[in-house]
């Protein structure tokens, strides 16, 4: 809690999302402030990924509202926000996936500079220089010209983080960034995320790494069956949750 008053960067109200008959999000309210780190935890299938995907418009929610830095990408009063407007507004967001989704036909550096070149239209030299800095930041300068198939899972995820950072997002979303990793590789990825915490990057992290969530988060959000059961400080949620379901979930996790 470094700041007295923080500006709101994401505001979600009454968000509903269904896949066919299956209701996955049943009225989500969530506020993310600038510089805040929020971890979303909860059982499998509770809708954590779907929530993140709605925020960055990989899924289109059918009801409720989503504001990114005050601008709507979903708004019941304006049902026809154009795709290009949504795309512009979502550029404030970056996302890191569980399965990395690196471009296999591009080297680490090429992965990082791809979007700066074709989306931000940066000059090549400038993009390369910035890309090399991003790779250095995640400790992979020496893998600059390596293709993803020759990288370990942890290295892949660090390249993916560098790639997301290269677009200079205001907010980073992580969907279980360490779940596809061998246990011994989890630490190096968490260390990179911790560096971002130090730089006051705004982040929403879906994770099953409870001790990590507890350590870095300003707020923990517990989701269950499409709703937020409780949203509280790590101390409160881990030591004294209001809901017995949270207690039993945490017991199973630890």
């Amino acid at each position: 809690m470094q700041y007295m008053s923080r500006s709101t960067v994401i505001e979600v109200k009454g968000l509903h999302k269904a896949f066919g008959k299956l209701e996955v999000l049943k009225g989500i309210d969530l506020t993310v402030s600038k510089g805040e780190v929020i971890s979303i935890i909860g059982p499998s299938g509770s809708g954590k990924s779907t929530l993140l995907r709605c925020l960055i418009h990989l899924e289109k929610a059918e009801r409720g509202s989503i504001l990114i830095e005050g601008r709507p990408i979903l708004d019941p009063d304006h049902p026809h926000i154009s795709e290009s407007e949504i795309r512009t507004r979502c550029k404030k967001l970056g996302m890191v996936f569980q399965n990395f989704n690196l471009y296999p036909h591009k080297s680490a550096l090429e992965n990082v500079i791809e979007a700066p070149l074709v989306v931000a239209k940066k000059p090549r030299q400038e993009a390369i220089r910035a890309g090399e800095q991003q790779l250095e930041k995640v400790g992979l300068s020496d893998k600059r010209d390596t293709y993803p198939c020759h990288l370990s899972g942890g290295q892949k995820q660090r390249v993916a983080i560098a790639r997301a950072l290269a677009m200079e997002p205001d907010i980073l979303l992580f969907d279980e960034p360490t779940s596809a990793l061998d246990p011994e590789l989890i630490g190096e990825v968490l260390a990179v995320i911790k560096d971002l915490v130090k730089e006051h990057m705004t982040m929403v992290i879906v994770t099953h790494e409870m001790s990590f969530a507890r350590e870095v988060s300003d707020k923990i959000v517990f989701m269950d069956d499409g709703v937020i059961l409780e949203s509280a400080s790590p101390e409160k949620l881990f030591n004294d949750p209001d809901h017995p379901r949270i207690r039993s979930f945490l017991q199973k996790m630890l």
Binding site: G94, Y103, H105, E114, C149
Partner: protein
């Protein structure tokens, strides 16, 4: 010996028709297949139906029938249309191979993981940018083996143009066989086809090696 050289020379003259047909077909049917695959993977229903009819008709009927249809049938359907034999043959081959390449490329495009589209989308890329920069380059690598197979088949399929009386490798060798009662021209023809396919295989092997730097 003199005789063998002479007949080889005559058969090789037919080879120029075969080779022209081969390259013309590839040159046109590969882009056609590419466009067809884009149409098939697009969101337009009308395009789907159109492309589905095209590929199922072409792939479901004999190439020989299609050659006859284009050469003899089209001029009847379209009064005033005059196709010379080579043009008719080339047109048929292009349409035929275009259908096969459409299916190959469609399969290739659809084999690319959804995560590649999602990663591109969250980085702000448009659909066109995603296709051109991310999806198609990966597709090319995946379709190289089936495209190589089709190309080998194409070398052999060119022999079908004998039915229009075009002087290709096969027809020229058949002529000598009929005139001189010897089968050596057929053996020469076989060797020429084998040689062409050897080059085709070599070419695709090189290409696959170049793409092997990743995965």
């Amino acid at each position: 010996m003199e005789y063998l050289l002479q007949s080889t020379g005559y058969i090789l003259q037919g080879g120029s028709v075969t080779i022209r047909l081969f390259f013309l077909t590839l040159l046109c049917s590969l882009p056609l297949g590419f466009l067809g695959a884009m149409a098939k993977t697009s969101k337009s229903r009308a395009l789907h139906i159109l492309m589905e009819s095209y590929t199922s008709i072409v792939r479901g009927t004999p190439l020989l029938l299609q050659i006859f249809f284009v050469y003899y049938g089209l001029p009847l359907l379209i009064p005033g249309l005059r196709l010379d034999r080579f043009t008719a043959a080339a047109l048929t081959f292009i349409l035929n191979y275009g259908a096969y390449f459409t299916e190959i490329f469609r399969g290739g495009i659809q084999s690319i993981e959804r995560g590649q589209y999602e990663a591109s989308k969250v980085l702000g890329m448009s659909y066109t940018q995603t296709m051109v920069r991310i999806i198609l380059p990966q597709t090319i690598k995946r379709v190289l083996p089936p495209v190589a197979n089709e190309s080998i088949t194409l070398v052999k399929d060119t022999a079908l143009v004998v039915v229009l009386g075009i002087g290709d490798i096969l027809r020229n060798s058949k002529e000598i066989v009929a005139r001189d009662f010897t089968i050596s021209p057929f053996i020469i023809a076989a060797i020429i086809y084998l040689g062409m396919n050897y080059l085709v295989v070599l070419f695709f092997k090189r290409l696959e090696e170049r793409y092997a730097v990743y995965e």
